[in-house]
Amino acid sequence: MNPKIKIKTSDISVFYKDFQALHGINMDIQEHKVTALIGPSGCGKSTFLRSINRLNELIAGTVIRGQIYIDASPVYCKEMDVVALRKQVGMVFQKPSVFPMSIYENVAYGPRIHGIKNREQLDEIVENSLKAANLWGEVGERLNAPAAGLSGGQQQRLVIARVLAVEPQVILMDEPASALDPISTARLEELIGELKKNYTIVIVTHNMQQAARISDYTGFFLNGELVEFSATNELFVNPRDQRTEDYITGRFG
């Protein structure tokens, strides 16, 4: 079987004013796989993640060099509309941040923005997205309740449902479980395993056990460089670089 490369980054460097956060990262991310990015805090893994959907640009003074291709389209070019890009590349953040609206309106937010007005169509999208996020059973009966009333774990799955409703091809996750309790984390990991059938997932995590459990490929970042990138089993069992070994055996970070 011929694996397909979904995202290819070519020599990506990111500067915040005078500080260089990323040094020429090259990475091939495969379709329908989970790719984990690990490393100590401040190592550039989140910066890398945010350069894929061009969210770094929100910070004034950011300069990005290099190129990222999703399928074959270059992400950094004049013709690329960031709105269209972000529709294809969904993102889940560290803190589950539901909008102060009902559960239904949270999920319908994306489709509405992208011009879907038909109520039946919206109902269907909301139901399918909540089902795909393993949340339908818990909230299907109270879609009009305020989303803020859900538990942390439910909120994070609601955020994922909200991302799924836009029908992305790639989902970026920035430490999605760091604010969750162990049981919610287990449910989230289970969900990630199911989602990879249909989506390409890139996840930043500070939890190495989590990376080992859920990912197919793992990249280790240190001081803005990609030290090592290989299949998860290989990286954890048989690291090629001394620094990787130091990190995964807990010698620093």
């Binding site: 011929n2 694996p3 397909k4 490369i5 979904k6 290819k8 070519s10 091939d28 379709e31 060099r65 290099g66 190129q67 291709y69 399928d71 074959a72 389209s73 270059p74 950094y76 070019c77 013709e79 690329m80 509309d81 709105v83 269209a84 890009l85 294809q88």
Partner: protein, 317 residues
């Protein structure tokens, strides 16, 4: 950015899908991107209203007032004690003195009182009492100046007349009413400044064995100093610019006040009293009074905004 497309390894991607993504991207970029730019430009023009307002106010007041000041001469206009506009003498010396007298007397009691109240609200009062005081101070700030003036006219003036002598219309009456009116400004800003002092400072001081009051005096107040100075300056600005309450209680005679019981006229009173019937040079002289007032206020505000508040934010004021 470089588009090194030849490098890419395209997996199962077919040309049709690639084209679809590309055309979709283009279509949206003309719809979405430009609209956001347009909105931004419109909002920016709205924000420019503040610059325009200040420019227009300065321009029109100066155009109407400056020629007369130059005609009379700056020093004569500011320091001459004779104000007899129908006879052609335009000196606002007495009003400068009046404004100064009323403002300083008001600050004399309102600053310590306001500062004490803000210390009370942040440091001493139980939280519920502090919050309650906060809403009462808001109410105090909301009561219109004409109501304060009216209260002064009906209550404070007879009181001064009966117990201290004179007609009651006086610097003192103005200072009492003005002091109450600037209390909210002083309290709100210095309270925010005191509340903004990091808890560590206080804890550190208490840990050294200092009492609560020693900590307030030696650690908290010094740390909140620039906020407290801001409060005093803005309170002063408010007092200098206040019109209706002062005009109702100070008697408005154009003399240099020789005691706090003598009547006086402030610059603001001068404008509102005579604007209704003034014309020609007389009207220009009232605008000239406004110019002096305006310059005072702008200087006070710039001092606060460019030096004291630089980099700091004392919340709503």
């Amino acid at each position: 950015m470089n588009n090194r497309t030849q490098e890419i390894t395209v997996g199962t991607m077919d040309a049709a899908k690639l084209l679809a993504i590309r055309s979709f991207t283009r279509k949206n970029s003309t719809l979405g991107f430009n609209r956001d730019k347009l909105v931004e430009t419109i909002l920016m023009l709205n924000a420019a209203i503040f610059i325009l307002a200040i420019a227009a106010i300065s321009l029109f007041i100066l155009i109407r007032g400056l020629p007369l000041i130059f005609k009379v001469g700056i020093t004569d206009f500011l320091l001459q004690l004779e104000w007899n506009p129908t006879a052609g003498s335009f000196g606002i010396g007495t009003m400068l003195a009046g404004t100064l007298a009323v403002t300083l007397t008001a600050l004399l009691w309102a600053v310590p009182m306001g500062l004490a109240t803000s210390i009370f609200m942040v440091e001493l009062a139980p939280p519920r009492i502090g919050t309650l005081m906060g809403s009462l101070v808001e109410l105090l700030a909301g009561i219109p100046s004409v109501v304060y003036g009216f209260f002064g006219l009906i209550v404070i003036i007879p009181f001064i007349r009966n117990y201290l002598g004179g007609s009651g219309l006086s610097v003192l009456a103005g200072a009492i009413v003005l002091g109450v009116m600037i209390l909210p400004t002083i309290i709100n800003i210095s309270r925010d400044a005191i509340a903004a002092v990091p808890l560590d400072y206080k804890v550190g001081s208490l840990a050294l064995g200092a009492s609560h009051y020693q900590s307030i005096r030696r650690v908290i107040l010094p740390a909140a100093r620039s906020g407290i100075i801001t409060a005093i300056i803005l309170g002063m600005g408010r007092a200098i610019g206040e019109t209706m309450a002062v005009v109702m209680v100070t008697g408005n005679s154009t003399i240099i006040p020789h005691s706090i019981l003598s009547p006086t006229r402030t610059m603001t009173s001068n404008i509102v009293l005579e604007m209704g019937y003034a014309s020609g040079d007389h009207q220009a002289a009232l605008f000239a009074t406004g110019v002096v007032l305006f310059i005072f206020i702008v200087i006070l505000n710039l001092v606060v905004n460019l030096t004291l508040k630089a980099g700091k934010n004392y919340g709503a004021n």
